[in-house]
């Protein structure tokens, strides 16, 4: 296990180098100049422009810029935002809890609905229930997130007025950030109605972000269950006279979960990618919206740093999933 972990950690190094090059190069390939964007419509003198170019190091060759960037990274410096002048790492950790809260809610919803749905579909294979679940899953999987989000806003926020349109909490509430999770902080603040407000702001973004992972998890659970239900050990369990709930929910599901857990882990990447769109639609102040805004402003250091940090999170989660896989599968454990 230790060997395996070390091997996987070593693999992170080349991946990291690759991501840093991609992040560095891609944002510079976009037309547009961060300094001109910063100046806005009024423009600036040529002299001031040269001064700022020199300040940010943009007057050096691209290779020198890259090596300076990597050298800073190695000393733990992710750079400073050109727009806000705050360190990238600091901004990231301020905004990340919002994304984490949304992603956690989404993955919980996706798992809590997706696994039972997949199990039902597999057990009732070929029935109208199976076909409707799989039909809905296919639609959910194919749905463009931004369009789905807008539809929900029009219907639930616009027509029914059930949920707020954007943000994390109503502006009338203010309390200090403790955990960064609005649901927990609003409870801690003890203000009346704060929690309900935070929760109602979460509903639509969670649904939108959960849709694709939910569809993937349901489909994966169904196929894993179908395979497992035909196994000899399921027949053995039934031959003991165990009730169907126990045969399906324990003997079969326990085995079917092994591939499903891997799928759930892989959805973290999908979630963070989905968060970019979802947060933009719902003005959710997380890292997804932060990244989109920074791309718009050509905030090179934020885009580079943010991509690198997101990549790091995905890699760490994948590593954790591999470890978890070993824990739930006894054949790998020892």
């Amino acid at each position: 296990m230790i060997r395996f972990l070390l091997y996987r950690l070593a693999l992170l190094v080349p991946t990291f180098i690759g991501v840093s090059i991609v992040a560095f190069a891609f944002i510079r390939m976009l037309p547009g100049d961060p300094i001109l964007l910063l100046a806005g419509e009024r423009g600036m003198t040529e002299e001031r422009y040269q001064q700022l170019q020199h300040l940010y190091g943009f007057d050096q060759s691209i290779f020198v810029q890259y090596f300076n960037y990597v050298a800073d990274l190695l000393s733990g410096d992710f750079g400073t935002s050109i727009v806000t002048k705050r360190p990238v790492l600091e901004e990231f950790f301020t905004l990340f809890p919002a994304t984490l809260e949304l992603s956690l809610c989404a993955i919980i919803v996706a798992t809590a609905i997706g696994i039972p749905a997949g199990v039902f579909a597999a057990v009732k294979r070929g029935s109208w229930l199976d076909q409707s679940i799989m039909g809905v899953a296919l639609v959910g999987y194919s749905m463009p997130i931004f369009w789905w989000g807008l539809l929900l806003i029009i219907f639930f926020s616009g027509m029914l007025q059930w949920t707020p349109v954007s943000g994390r909490i109503s502006l009338i509430y203010f309390f200090p950030q403790v955990t960064g999770f609005m649901l927990i902080d609003s409870l801690l603040s003890g203000q009346k109605g704060a929690f309900t407000s935070a929760a109602s702001h979460l509903i639509l973004p969670t649904i939108v972000l959960a849709t694709i992972p939910l569809a993937v998890i349901a489909r994966q659970t169904r196929s894993a269950m179908l395979e497992v239900l035909g196994e000899d050990y399921v027949r053995t369990a039934r031959s003991k006279g165990l009730p169907p709930m126990r045969v399906i929910g324990l003997h079969a599901l326990r085995n079917a979960l092994i591939p499903v857990v891997t799928t759930i882990g892989l959805q973290v990447g999908v979630l963070l990618a989905g968060a970019i769109l979802t947060e933009t639609i719902f003005s959710w102040p997380g890292i997804g919206k932060w990244m989109v805004d920074s791309v718009g402003k050509r905030d090179y250091s934020v885009v580079q740093g943010g991509l690198l940090l997101i990549a790091a999170i995905i890699m760490i989660v994948n590593l954790l999933v591999d470890v978890l896989y070993g824990l739930i599968n006894p054949r790998i454990r020892r």
């Binding site: 050990y233 053995t236 369990a237 031959s239 003991k240 006279g241 009730p243 054949r331």
Partner: protein
């Protein structure tokens, strides 16, 4: 009255190409303390008949019978819940593939303990004591250590012993062994058979041994029932069957045994294969492969009386001579 009595059991599977009769009017009985062997090639409906009794067939199967009684209870009219109180307790079954019949995600102790808790309501300590006792009974060394092991840590022979221990957990009245030695190597086969016979004798259980191996039959059984393509073609006690088989199929099976080969050289074999769904002959199902078949065999063959082993044949053999056969009998007499 016998422990288990089945009369005219028919099992039909719905398939995409129409109904398929896997078991065709099979009658079977097994008494307390008796070993009945059911013999036949693959696809002769041996396992399906027993799975029908256990209620373990998929929903595509339709089971009909004139009677199916176990221990004085009518198994046909039982609800699924009532049946589950009998299977795993009074009737238990072990299967062909021990390695895949145990659930890879649970320990040996958990899997044995499950029936003990379900049917006998034993507590944790009691279950552990009984599990150790059972593992000792089936000849597993260091049973305390084995309880916490997972199936992948056991060899094939060990797995089958664990399966037997699980089946014996609630002291069943009837044990059905579905090709228990097919997947094991020869030395282990003999050990498992000895174990089954010893346990059967010690516990006074009925034992139904499903096999396609005539050698296994000769070593263990008392009464033998030969099945072909879903039909019972002959039933005799084991001595009688080996001395004087009455159905041409039984005779052909026996002459294919290496030990019984009359002369050196190639072993005799039965040409052709068991008819499948599409190519079932109209009359006697064995007719296309039978050396004695005549035009009369194109219609349903006659069931002979008990003196002729209930042979399902128009020309039952007596000392290898087909009785009442138009051509062959004359040939032999001449």
């Amino acid at each position: 009255m016998a422990l288990l009595e089945i009369e005219n059991l028919t099992v039909t599977f719905k398939t995409s190409s129409g109904p398929f009769k896997a078991v065709d009017s099979v009658s079977l009985s097994c008494d307390k303390g008796e070993i009945l062997s059911v013999v036949g090639e693959s696809g002769s409906g041996k396992s399906v008949a027993m799975l029908a009794l256990m209620g373990l067939l998929p929903w595509t199967a339709t089971v009909t019978a004139d009677a199916m009684r176990f221990d004085g209870r009518d198994m046909l009219t039982l609800s699924a819940r009532e049946r589950r109180r009998i299977i795993g307790k009074d009737i238990s079954m072990i299967f062909q593939e021990p390695m895949s019949s145990l659930n890879p995600c649970f320990t040996v102790g958990f899997q044995i303990g499950e029936s003990l808790r379900l049917h006998l309501g034993m507590g944790r300590a009691e279950r552990r004591a009984r599990s150790i006792e059972l593992l000792k009974l089936v000849g597993i060394p260091a049973p305390e250590d084995r309880l916490s092991q997972f199936p992948h840590q056991l060899s094939g022979g060990m797995s089958q012993r664990v399966m037997i221990a699980m089946a014996l957990a609630c002291n069943p009245k009837l044990l059905i062994a579905d090709e228990p030695t097919t997947a094991l190597d020869v030395t282990i086969q003999a050990q498992i058979l000895d174990l089954l016979v010893r346990l059967q004798r010690d516990h006074g259980m009925g034992l139904i041994l499903i096999t396609h191996d005539m050698g296994v039959v000769a070593e263990t059984a008392e009464r033998v029932q030969v099945q072909y393509a879903g039909q019972k073609v002959e039933e005799q006690d084991v001595k009688g069957l080996f001395a004087d088989p009455h159905h041409p199929y039984t005779a052909a099976l026996l002459s294919a045994l290496p030990e019984r080969a009359l002369r050196r050289g190639r072993l005799p074999s039965i040409p052709g294969v068991v008819p499948g769904q599409g190519d079932r002959p109209p009359g006697c199902l064995f007719a296309p492969r039978c050396q004695y078949a005549t035009a009369a065999c194109q219609t349903a063959p006659k069931r002979q009386d008990r003196a002729l082993g209930l042979a399902l044949c128009n020309y039952p053999l007596v000392d290898g001579v087909p009785q009442g056969h138009p051509g062959k009998a004359a040939e032999v007499n001449a």
